[in-house]
Amino acid sequence: MRAFRYGFLILIAALAAVPGAGQGLAITQIDTERLLFGQSVRLYLSAPGAAGTESPDVEVWESGEGGEWAPRPVTAVSRGINDAEGIAFCFLLDNSGSMWTGLDGREGAPTEDQRMTHAKAAARAFLAEASRQGRGKDRIGLGVFNTRYWKAADPVGDFERISRGLDEIRKPATEDAYTELYLSLDRALADFAGVPGRRALVVLSDGENFPYYIRTGKPNPETGTRTTGPEDVVERAAREGITVYVVRFGNEKDPSLGDAAVRTGGKVFDASNRDELAAVYSTIRADVLAEIAVDYRAGMAPGSRRNVRAVLRDREGREFSSERYYYAGTVLGWSRDLPGWYYLAFLLVPALLWLALLVFKLERETTEAGLRLLYGPSGGGTRVFTLNSPQTVIGSSDAADFTIGGNPSLKERHATILFDERQNAYTVVGDGNLTVNNREVERKRLEPGDVINMAGTVVVFDDALVKKTPKGRLPQPSRRKSQ
């Protein structure tokens, strides 16, 4: 009885490994590495429709954001390109209640008959093949789901870790035993999307979508009331360029899952025989290696999203096509508007302003003698005092000519500035706590720019540098005087 059952399943597996109907072409990856310096883009096409063709007939079309489709010149079509990079796989293992029943769905089946046992064996056979054929370049990750979904491992080259991850899988409690198939598939695709290179997601499941929210009416502990179906999964897989392969266990077939896998460019395997399972890896690898790399000269349509369509004709003249998009944004953006006349104003007005800044000076020369408050205990200030009498008293008193408040150390009459009309010269006089240019003085003839410090209140004496009086003095830079 058991031998018969296995024989029947082997037959199904052999049939199912044949590519499904409707599958012809998928752009699995777009490589824009040489876009900037070579204006060249490479498409990877999974094209079972052209499996036997040595140099397939491929056309590439592009369109910018909302623009027309235009043909692009194809520069090279080659095969077997992906061999050098290795493949990133992600197992998504079903750990729902039904995975712990027999292949025929019976509860209480012995461990060796349980679907989970077969699934783990399939995954292990896959790992063994990957380490034998993958030449250390492949990476494998692991995700597990039932009511919940969790990522057990990102794709790694250390397959032992994945093997240990498989060991740790235990039968779930009843509440967790639902099969949140499409939601988990969607989440796994999102997780897997950030992984670089050629990616294949391998779902090991008995393929019965049994969502928690729909079946129980209660929100899923992780995803709430969100639902999704095969359409969304196919859409996401196509967008991310991930091919989905399905390894099915059990007799109940979820037709949508198989169909979804085929539409992403993948295949479906019905597996219960260990020898047959060993071929899963070889088949996927052969698919990836059979991909066609198409180099073409990219267009310059504006916009950050560039749509690309590949069209392939097989020997019988059947046409397959697939679309994806890649990023073609430019640093300074893009504009669809026509420049108007007023753009000229934006050019001219700032240019004139700039010229004005260049030509007109922003400062005025000192023409009359004065004192400028630089800083003091009361804080800064731009107070300016013009010297226009023979004697100017500076101090804190209101009776002083130049009154400076806020400094308790400043005397009521702290310093006096005398003007000698005959020599057209100013002299500062004080009796203590007075420095000019940081030197203690009691009396000093002032030069423009001299810094007078009166107990912490600092003023600058300023005057025209070149005096317009007949007695205008020649500069004497090395003159030093502190009487």
Partner: protein, 297 residues
């Protein structure tokens, strides 16, 4: 020119650059489809960007010290250097953007908008850094290079992010570029002057004469003082100042002033300039020009 006024002039120049660049770049972008390749397209835009901002920033120093010849020479030099730096910077930014954008498009598309804004910000930061560092290269000053790096980074990050965010909201809209450029120009100059202030080793403030009130931050290792227009501090209109009168040196964070010749009169606090480093509140004299050294807010 006081620090505040200086910052204002610099920010005004940044915004003027943005206003002038906007129609130029829109014109180039309008013709995107006619360009043979992204390389030529990117370099063209980079040259435009660098030319305008480079010329503006190059003329800044001359405007600040009110030296027309210095301004026009700086303008020419800045345009030349800026064009090269802009081309290299925008190219590097574009390279980054293609890589980042490619990765973003391959991954979770729900975070595409913010992701692209961040990527574009980074790309602009790269371009801005190239642009703002030209002044440091020209002055051969490590501090100015650092100032340019930080200013370009900060201005670029925000300007690029603004452009990208607005492009997500209104794809192909012309105003997003203007907003991005204005933010870029304004912030780059603002951060540049903030960082310049942060990395200065004191400032020389002119106390008298026609350029009274101007502040010269000591940022590079050597500043020349004289009447010649090629000097860093041009003292045109000051009696007793030679074409090259003195040099200000920055050595290990300390500032020194040295006469350029045996009979060039340089005084510190009315005494001869010795070997001692300058201290805040020191009063320097070069001919009839008088400076106050210190840190001014």
């Amino acid at each position: 020119m006081s620090l505040t006024l200086k910052r204002a002039v610099m920010a005004v120049l940044g915004i003027l650059g943005a206003l002038m660049l906007w129609p130029i770049l829109l014109m180039v972008q309008r013709a995107q489809a006619a360009f043979p390749s992204y390389l030529v397209f990117t370099l063209s835009q980079g040259v435009c960007l660098g030319l305008v901002f480079g010329a503006l920033f190059g003329s800044f120093e001359g405007i600040v010290v009110s030296s027309r010849s210095k301004a026009f020479r700086g303008l020419g030099f800045g345009a030349l250097f800026g064009a090269a730096a802009g081309a290299a910077g925008v190219l590097a930014g574009q390279l980054f953007l293609f890589l980042a954008g490619g990765a973003l498009f391959r991954s979770n598309s729900s975070r595409l908008g913010p992701g692209l804004a961040a990527a574009n910000g980074m790309a602009w930061a790269i371009a801005g850094t190239f642009l703002a560092m030209t002044e440091g290269l020209r002055a051969r000053s490590g501090r100015k290079l650092l100032v340019g790096l930080l200013g370009g980074l900060a201005g670029g990050l925000i300007g690029g992010a603004i452009l990208s965010a607005l492009q997500v909201l209104a794809p192909g809209g012309k105003w997003s570029l203007l907003a991005g450029l204005a933010a870029f120009g304004f912030l780059l100059t603002l951060f540049y002057s903030l960082f310049e202030n942060r990395f200065q080793a004191g400032t020389l403030k002119l106390l008298n004469g026609p350029l009274k009130g101007k502040e010269y931050p000591v940022v590079s290792r050597k500043l020349t003082v004289g009447t010649d227009a090629s000097c860093d501090i041009v003292l045109a209109g000051y009696p007793g100042v030679r074409p090259l009168h003195a040099t200000v040196h920055l050595e290990k964070g300390r500032v020194y002033i040295r006469p350029a010749g045996p009979d060039a009169g340089v005084l510190v606090n009315d005494g001869p300039a010795g070997d001692a480093a300058l201290r805040p509140e020191d009063v320097l004299a070069a001919g009839k020009a008088k400076f106050l050294y210190g840190y001014f807010a």
